[in-house]
C-alpha cells in the first residue's frame, strides 16, 4: 500500500509538472501583451513598460518559467491581471463556493440517481423504467445554462418559491460582515449558529445545485441501472432468489452493492470536471465560484489566473483519482494495488 501511494504520488507530481509546463507555454504563445491589460485602457507606453517590468515579463523565458515553478512551490502563484490580487488568494475566495455548489449537486445526484437506477432496473422495460430513462437522457443532454434559465424563470420569477440569484440574501451583508469559516455560507451559518444565514444560503443553493446535478444525476441513474441489471443476472443473484430473498432485497442489498464502486468513480471525476465547467450556471445564478472566475479571467486574457485555475483543477483531478483508487482498494477486497 505504501509503495503504491508513493509511486502514485510521484507520478501525480510529474503530471502536475507537465500541466504547469504546458500551461505556461500555451499562455505565453497566445498573441498579446498581458502588461497592456494590467496597465489599463488608455495607459501610456511608459506605463506599459513599467507594468512589463513589474510582472517580470521583461525577463528571458527560461527565467520566467523558473520563477513560475519556484513561485508555485512556495505559494506564490502570481498576481491576477484582472483583479490585481494574488492568484492564490483569489482561488481561496472562489473555490469554497464551487465545492459547496458541486458538492450539493453530487449529493442530489447520488440520493436521487441511485434509487432511480434501482427502480429502473426493477421495472425493466415497464413504464417506470421508460420514464426514468427519459429523465436520465434529458438530464444528460439538456444544456445546463438553458435549464438554469428555465428553472430560474419558473421557480424564482413566476412562482416566487426560491430566490433568483446569489449565495444568500444580500441584506445579511448590509448590516454586518457575514461570518466566514469555510467560505461555504450554509456550513458557516450552521457552524456559527447563524440559522437565518444557513437557511437563506440553503434556499439560494437549491436551484443552482439542482441544475448542476442534472448531468451527474443522469449518468448515475443509467450507470446504476446497467450495473444492477448486469449483476442481477449473475449466478450469485440467482442463488439469492432461490434462497427465497425478495427481488427488492436481491437488487437493493446485493446487486446495488457492486454498483457503488463505479458510481463513486464517476462522482469523483464529475466533481473535478464540474468545478470549472459550471461557469454558465454560476453566471446565471450569480454564484461566485471557480467557473465564473475562470470564464472572466479567460475573457480578460488574465494569464496568471488562467494558469492558476488550470493548475488547481489538475491537482484536484490527480488527488481525487488517487483517493478513489485507494478507497476502492480499501473497501473492495477484489481490488489489488499494484
Amino acid at each position: 500500500m505504501i509503495r503504491f501511494v508513493l509511486r502514485r504520488t510521484v507520478l501525480s507530481l510529474v503530471v502536475i509538472a507537465g500541466v504547469m509546463v504546458i500551461t505556461f507555454v500555451i499562455t505565453h504563445v497566445i498573441p498579446g501583451d498581458p502588461a497592456v491589460n494590467w496597465a489599463g485602457p488608455h495607459a501610456s507606453l511608459a506605463q506599459i513598460r513599467q507594468a512589463r517590468i513589474s510582472l517580470g515579463l521583461n525577463r528571458p523565458l527560461w527565467s520566467q518559467i523558473g520563477h513560475y515553478f519556484w513561485g508555485i512551490a512556495t505559494g506564490d502563484w502570481g498576481t491576477a491581471i484582472r483583479t490585481h490580487r494574488p492568484v492564490l488568494n483569489d482561488l481561496f475566495g472562489v473555490v469554497p463556493a464551487s465545492f459547496e455548489l458541486v458538492g450539493a449537486a453530487l449529493i442530489i445526484a447520488a440520493i436521487v440517481g441511485v434509487p432511480l437506477g434501482v427502480l429502473s432496473a426493477r421495472w425493466k422495460g415497464k413504464a417506470p423504467d421508460q420514464l426514468v430513462r427519459l429523465f436520465a437522457v434529458l438530464g444528460v443532454s439538456m444544456p445546463a445554462f438553458w435549464l438554469a434559465l428555465i428553472v430560474q424563470l419558473i421557480f424564482a420569477q413566476h412562482l416566487h418559491w426560491l430566490p433568483t440569484a446569489g449565495e444568500y440574501d444580500p441584506s445579511f451583508a448590509y448590516s454586518h460582515p457575514v461570518p466566514s469559516i469555510t467560505g461555504m455560507p450554509v456550513v458557516d451559518g450552521v457552524l456559527t449558529g447563524h440559522w437565518a444565514l444557513a437557511w437563506s444560503s440553503f434556499t439560494h443553493l437549491i436551484l443552482p445545485a439542482v441544475v448542476v446535478a442534472s448531468y451527474p444525476l443522469g449518468v448515475v441513474t443509467r450507470l446504476v441501472r446497467a450495473k444492477v441489471l448486469e449483476t442481477s443476472e449473475e449466478t450469485h443473484s440467482q442463488m439469492m432468489r432461490s434462497l427465497g430473498f425478495s427481488e427488492r432485497a436481491v437488487l437493493g442489498r446485493f446487486a446495488l452493492r457492486l454498483a457503488w464502486s463505479p458510481v463513486v468513480q464517476v462522482l469523483a471525476l464529475v466533481l473535478a470536471y464540474s468545478l470549472v465547467n459550471t461557469f454558465l450556471v454560476e453566471a446565471v445564478f450569480d454564484w461566485p465560484g471557480l467557473g465564473n472566475y475562470a470564464a472572466q479571467s479567460i475573457s480578460a486574457l488574465d494569464v496568471p489566473a488562467i494558469a492558476g485555475v488550470t493548475l488547481f483543477v489538475a491537482m484536484v483531478y490527480v488527488v481525487l483519482n488517487l483517493l478513489v483508487d485507494l478507497g476502492q482498494a480499501f473497501f473492495d477486497p477484489r481490488v489489488r494495488l499494484a
Partner: protein, 522 residues
C-alpha cells in the same frame, strides 16, 4: 412505491415551506439602501491615485474631486472647491476650497491636504495621472487656497473634474504605514458622502457603503443611507432582480431586454448618449486604404442608419468626433452617409474600381456592437467589389497586430472604442490622430502637420476662451472628414433600468456609469 410517494410529499412540503420564507427576501431590504447592479467586479484597485477601471463606480461615492462637470449645462460646478479662476493667460489657476469638509478619518480637507494628494498622484504617474501633465507646481498659500502653476495654458477646471486621477484623498490616512499597501489592503481615505462599510472580494455583494455622518453637504432631506454594489454577470438575471425590486439600478442591459422592460410598472428606463465612440480606423499608410478616395468610397458605402437599427437603440450617430455634451460638439458638421453613387464615384477616382481589393478588418472579440458593425461592413462593401475579411481578436492581439513593424502585417481597418478621461475632446485628437513615430493609439497611422499644430494649440486656446476652443475643434473635425482617416460608426447609448420610486437620476457621461447616489431621493 409508497416510499417514493412519501418522498414526493416531503419535497412538496419543503418547497411550500421555502415559499413562505424566501419570497421577496431581497425586496425587503431597507428602502434607504441603494443597490447598484453591475455586470463585473467593481474593485480592482483601491488606490485613488492609480485606479483606472470599474472602481470609479464606488470611488465616486467615497471620494470627491475639486470640481465636477455637468454634461447637461456643459459647465464645471463646485465640489470641494467653491470657486476658481485662471490668470496669466491660463497658466495659473487658483482654487478656493470649501470650509468644513473633512475626510472620513476626521482630518480636514484643506489646501495642504489637496496639494499632498495631487502631488502624490503626479509622482506615482500611473492610471490617469497624465491628466496633470500641464502642472509645473502646486502651492497652498493659505489654508483654503490652492494655486496651480502650469507649464503651458490648459483648462484646469476641466482637468480637476476628471473622472479618474483627480480625487482628493488623505495622504496621512495610513499613519506611519506605507499608504499604497494600506490602500491595497482594502481601505479608503476619501471625503465623499459615503464611506466603506464592508468589502467582500469576488462575492456577488461586493461592496457596502454607509452614509458619512459628517459629510459637508449634511443629511437633511431624503437621501439613501447605504449604497450596495452587486455583481450580476447575466443580463437576464439582472432583469429579474430589478423587476422584483432586489436591486435599485441596473448598469447595463442587452437592447432586447431593455426594450422589453420599457413601460413596465414599477420600473423606469433611461437612454443617454455616452462619450464612447466606436471608430473604424482606416490604414492610411499602406494598401488600398492609403488612398483617400478609396477611404471615402468605403466611408460612403456604410449603412450607418442600418447599423443603429441592428443595434436596437444601443447607439446614436455623432457628427464628427465629439459627442453631445462636450465642448466641441457641433451638429452642423458634415458626416458620411450611405450613398452608393458617391461611393462608386470615389472608388473610380481611387483607381481600384474592378480590381477586387481585399481588406482585413479586425475587431475586439466578444464585443457585440463591433461584431455586428464588422459583418454589416463586409456585406455592404461586397457590391463595390471589395472583399472584407473579418478577424475577431482579443484586444491585446488586435493592438499588437496594429503595431506590427511590418506594414503588410497590419490590418486595413480596425474597430476601436475611445472615450475621454475628462470633459475635453482633446484625448481623441492627441491619441488617435496626432502623428506618431511608431504607432501607439493612432492606428490609422494618420499624419497631418496642420492638424498636429492645431492639436498642440487647442488646449491653450480652450484655457482662456472656451468659444474659440470649440470653434477650433470644429475646424479639426472638418479636416478629419475631408481626409477620412476614420469614421465614427456610432456613439454608444447608456441604457439604464431603475426602480420607479427613485427621483433625481441624471446620467452624466463625464463619469461613465456612475450614479451620484447622494443626489437621489429614495
Amino acid at each position: 412505491m409508497f416510499r417514493v410517494r412519501n418522498l414526493s410529499m416531503a419535497f412538496v412540503i419543503s418547497i411550500g415551506a421555502l415559499t413562505l420564507t424566501s419570497g421577496g427576501a431581497g425586496a425587503a431590504a431597507a428602502s434607504k439602501t441603494f443597490t447598484y447592479d453591475t455586470y463585473t467586479q467593481v474593485m480592482t484597485a483601491w488606490d485613488p491615485a492609480t485606479e483606472y477601471s470599474n472602481e470609479i463606480l464606488a470611488m465616486q461615492q467615497m471620494y470627491e474631486t475639486l470640481t465636477r462637470y455637468d454634461a447637461t449645462t456643459k459647465q464645471v460646478t463646485p465640489l470641494l472647491a467653491t470657486s476658481w479662476k485662471s490668470s496669466n493667460g491660463g497658466k495659473t489657476w487658483t482654487f478656493t476650497l470649501r470650509h468644513g469638509a473633512t475626510f472620513h478619518d476626521g482630518r480636514p480637507v484643506n489646501a495642504a491636504a489637496a496639494k499632498a494628494a495631487i502631488d502624490r498622484t503626479i509622482k506615482l504617474n500611473q492610471g490617469a495621472a497624465y491628466i496633470w501633465g500641464p502642472v509645473k507646481s502646486i502651492a497652498a498659500p493659505s489654508a483654503y487656497t490652492l494655486v496651480f502653476n502650469l507649464k503651458y495654458a490648459a483648462p484646469l477646471d476641466l482637468i480637476s473634474s476628471s473622472d479618474y486621477g483627480a480625487y482628493i484623498y488623505d495622504t496621512q490616512a495610513a499613519g506611519t504605514a506605507d499608504l499604497a499597501k494600506w490602500f491595497a489592503a482594502g481601505h479608503e481615505a476619501g471625503s465623499g458622502p459615503y464611506q466603506l462599510q464592508n468589502y467582500a472580494a469576488g462575492k456577488e455583494v461586493e461592496i457596502t457603503l454607509k452614509a458619512f455622518a459628517k459629510y459637508w453637504g449634511g443629511w437633511s432631506g431624503s437621501h439613501y443611507k447605504q449604497v450596495v454594489f452587486r455583481v450580476t454577470p447575466t443580463a437576464s438575471t439582472a432583469a429579474q432582480l430589478v423587476q422584483s425590486g432586489q436591486v435599485s439600478f441596473v448598469e447595463q442591459m442587452t437592447p432586447q431586454l431593455f426594450n422589453s422592460l420599457k413601460g413596465q410598472s414599477g420600473l423606469q428606463t433611461t437612454s443617454t448618449a455616452s462619450w464612447q465612440n466606436l471608430f473604424a480606423l482606416f490604414n492610411t499608410s499602406y494598401g488600398p486604404m492609403s488612398n483617400s478616395n478609396f477611404r471615402k468610397a468605403v466611408a460612403s458605402a456604410i449603412d450607418y442608419k442600418g447599423l443603429l437599427a441592428a443595434l436596437k437603440g444601443a447607439g446614436v450617430r455623432t457628427p464628427g468626433i465629439v459627442p453631445k455634451g462636450l465642448i466641441g460638439y457641433d451638429p452642423t458638421l458634415p458626416q458620411y452617409r450611405l450613398n452608393l453613387t458617391a461611393a462608386k464615384k470615389f472608388l473610380k477616382a481611387s483607381g481600384y474600381s474592378g480590381k477586387h481589393p481585399v481588406l482585413n478588418l479586425t475587431y475586439t472579440q466578444g464585443d457585440n456592437n463591433e461584431q455586428i458593425a464588422s459583418l454589416l461592413m463586409q456585406s455592404e462593401l461586397a457590391p463595390l467589389g471589395i472583399t472584407v475579411k473579418v478577424h475577431a481578436l482579443q484586444w491585446t492581439a488586435q493592438w499588437a497586430e496594429a503595431q506590427s513593424k511590418t506594414l503588410s502585417a497590419r490590418q486595413d481597418i480596425t474597430l476601436m472604442y475611445w472615450w475621454p478621461d475628462y470633459a475635453d475632446p482633446y484625448s481623441w485628437f492627441v491619441n488617435l490622430f496626432q502623428t506618431e513615430k511608431s504607432p501607439f493609439f493612432n492606428l490609422a497611422y494618420y499624419s497631418n502637420k496642420t492638424l498636429d499644430a492645431q492639436i498642440n494649440r487647442v488646449e491653450q486656446v480652450l484655457a482662456v476662451d472656451k468659444a474659440k476652443g470649440a470653434a477650433l475643434y470644429s475646424t479639426m473635425q472638418k479636416t478629419l472628414y475631408n481626409d477620412a482617416p476614420a469614421v465614427t460608426l456610432l456613439t454608444e447609448n447608456y441604457q439604464r433600468v431603475l426602480i420607479a420610486g427613485i427621483k433625481g437620476y441624471v446620467d452624466n457621461p463625464a463619469y461613465p456609469s456612475v450614479v451620484f447616489t447622494y443626489n437621489l431621493t429614495p
